[in-house]
């Protein structure tokens, strides 16, 4: 295996893809999102429990490639405890991290290793959509009804 591909699938991503700590459905979910990529069939259901504009709990269910699974796992882990206002810049940061056209180095954006791992997607623009699948869906929901 060469370095490029090792970087993409470095242990953080493989570990997160197998991390089941945030898998499942929330009985008391206030919001349920469907993230779906029709091109490849990857599909995740993200359950959120939002109380007073704070995401108290987040879990996911579904299937897809290692990248989309890991990124959904990281998303659900890291948004817990954040307010709705905090989430938008957080998602934008993630998008910047995987954006192959960005002029900002990944390290200047974050020092969180779970997030940094996805910066390798800059080398694989066709997989960016895997990395951002659930993040994008959450952003769309924020723009839509969720913020009201």
């Amino acid at each position: 295996m060469n370095d490029r591909i090792k970087a993409l699938y470095q242990s953080h991503i493989l570990v997160n893809a197998k991390d089941t700590s945030h898998q499942g459905k929330l009985e008391d979910a206030t919001h349920v999102l469907e993230a779906y990529n029709p091109m490849c069939g990857d599909q995740y259901t993200v359950s959120l429990k939002i109380v007073d504009d704070v995401i108290e709990k987040a879990t996911f269910d579904g299937f897809g490639c290692a990248i989309s699974k890991a990124s959904t796992a990281v998303l659900t882990k890291q948004i817990e405890g954040k307010t709705l206002v905090e989430i938008k810049p957080f998602i934008e940061l993630f998008h910047e991290l995987v954006n192959e056209l960005s002029d900002q180095s990944p390290e200047s954006l974050t020092s969180d290793e779970d997030l940094l791992a996805f910066a390798a997607a800059r080398e694989f623009p066709e997989r960016k959509v895997c990395a951002t699948l659930s993040w994008e869906e959450l952003l769309l929901s924020l723009r839509g009804s969720m913020m009201k």
Binding site: M1, R4, Y9, M39, C40, G41, G64, C65, A66
Partner: protein
């Protein structure tokens, strides 16, 4: 003697390394095939030395172009063993041909309560156009189911056939699994009820001889780009009486007799069905692709791709954690498989690092995948230039990926 290595040398793309410095191992031929130099050169020469429009001019180069364009019609006629040259209509591809037959043949003949039959293994292109018209008309779309082996349930077909059936559309080969259908049997059954039969031959023409007279099908379509030809060109074979009774596939210049604001009358097929400026370079390049196939011959082509397919199956089945989808003795050069614990998309990304091109996903056959309870498979598919060395490279890379990912 047939030698895939000398064949490969006729395809310029294999002369260079991939951007990562690997030899290109191209195993996505069911999606699209690479082009031999003869096809590329023919297109270049056409544009550089004799470019003109077709059909209505009395000057060189348009006269030359018209002659060359129509010669390809004869080549395709002979390739399919069609009875008449005017049974060959050029389209911009398989999808285009299916949509046009759906609009111009099926729509005006379909009434509420009528039935259209397709199979459970159709590519979306041979499903959605019929489905949408059935919905519009209140007709029923019925499905020949597949068995667990992946094969069509031919007995179920017989129970679907009634006088209400206005069309049966079926693929020759499943693009997702490589399963070959028994077209003779299907068409014979359909003809018992005088049902017109439409064959999606997108996955057939590159690898095996087709004889539309022996098949006795009413329509058969394929794409140039899957038989070593250019993009943007396809073929619709239609029986003469079908093409004559149908409205034009689309409307525009070059197809009319007389036009007033109120009405238009049309020429006879094939002109009638080729409105507007066609993909002239595409058709001329397709002619070169047909020549290329004929020079090697279907006997050699079929034998070679069959051998490669057999070799690949053997190697795959010998691996742990690999499950080949579909359980048939004889298959087209298309194999779908899943690797335990590794998603097909990740696999494809890994193989790309080795210069190996495979397809991952639902292969535009969601109902089939659903039936088989699969979300995505990895698919490899072969062409005349693939070698055992390609398969060996694949197997090594699969093992490496497995070790790393699963």
């Amino acid at each position: 003697m047939f030698n895939p290595e000398t064949i490969k040398q006729q395809f310029p793309i294999f002369k260079q390394k991939t951007p990562l410095g690997q030899d290109l191992v191209y195993l996505d031929n069911a999606a699209t095939c690479q082009k031999p130099l003869a096809v590329i050169d023919r297109i270049t020469d056409f544009y550089a030395k004799e470019y003109g429009t077709v059909g209505r001019s009395s000057y060189w180069p348009a006269t030359e172009t018209t002659k060359n364009y129509n010669e390809v019609r004869g080549k395709v006629q002979r390739l399919l063993n069609a009875a008449h040259e005017d049974e060959i209509v050029f389209t911009s591809g398989t999808t285009d041909a299916i949509n046009k037959v759906a609009n111009s043949f099926l729509r005006p003949r379909l009434n509420a309560g009528d039935v259209v039959i397709i199979s459970e293994m159709e590519h979306h292109a041979n499903l959605i156009p019929w489905q949408q018209i059935c919905t519009e008309k209140g007709a029923l779309l019925k499905v020949i189911p597949i068995l667990d082996s992946g094969e069509l349930d031919y007995e179920a077909l017989e129970s679907l056939l009634t006088n209400k059936v206005k069309l049966l559309a079926v693929t020759g080969v499943s693009n997702a699994l490589g399963i070959k259908n028994d077209l003779l049997r299907i068409i014979k059954a359909a003809k018992g009820f005088e049902v017109p039969v439409f064959i999606d031959a997108a996955q057939s023409v590159a690898h095996s001889e087709i004889d539309v007279v022996a098949l006795h099908c009413d329509f058969l379509v394929f794409s140039g780009h899957k038989i070593y030809g250019p993009t943007g060109v396809g073929v619709l074979f239609g029986k003469r009486e079908r093409l004559r009774e149908m409205a034009p596939l689309s409307y525009g210049g070059g197809i009319v007799k007389e036009v007033t604001i109120e009405a238009a009358s049309f020429q006879q097929s094939p002109n009638k069905h080729e409105a507007g400026t066609p993909n002239i370079a595409g058709v001329i390049g397709l002619g070169a692709a047909v020549d290329f196939i004929n020079e090697i011959g279907y006997a050699e082509i079929s034998a070679h791709t069959k051998a490669i397919t057999g070799y690949a199956l053997e190697q795959l089945k010998a691996m742990e954690g690999i499950q080949v989808i579909g359980d048939v003795d004889d298959r087209a050069p298309v194999i779908s498989f899943v690797m335990e614990g590794v998603h097909a998309h990740d696999l494809s990304t890994f193989l790309n690092e080795k210069g190996i091109c495979i397809r991952a996903g639902h292969h535009c056959a969601q109902p089939l995948m659903h039936r088989l309870n699969l979300m995505a498979t990895a698919r490899i598919s072969f062409a005349i230039y693939n070698t055992k060395a390609d398969i060996d490279a694949l197997i090594i890379a699969l093992k490496e990926t497995q070790a790393f990912l699963s």
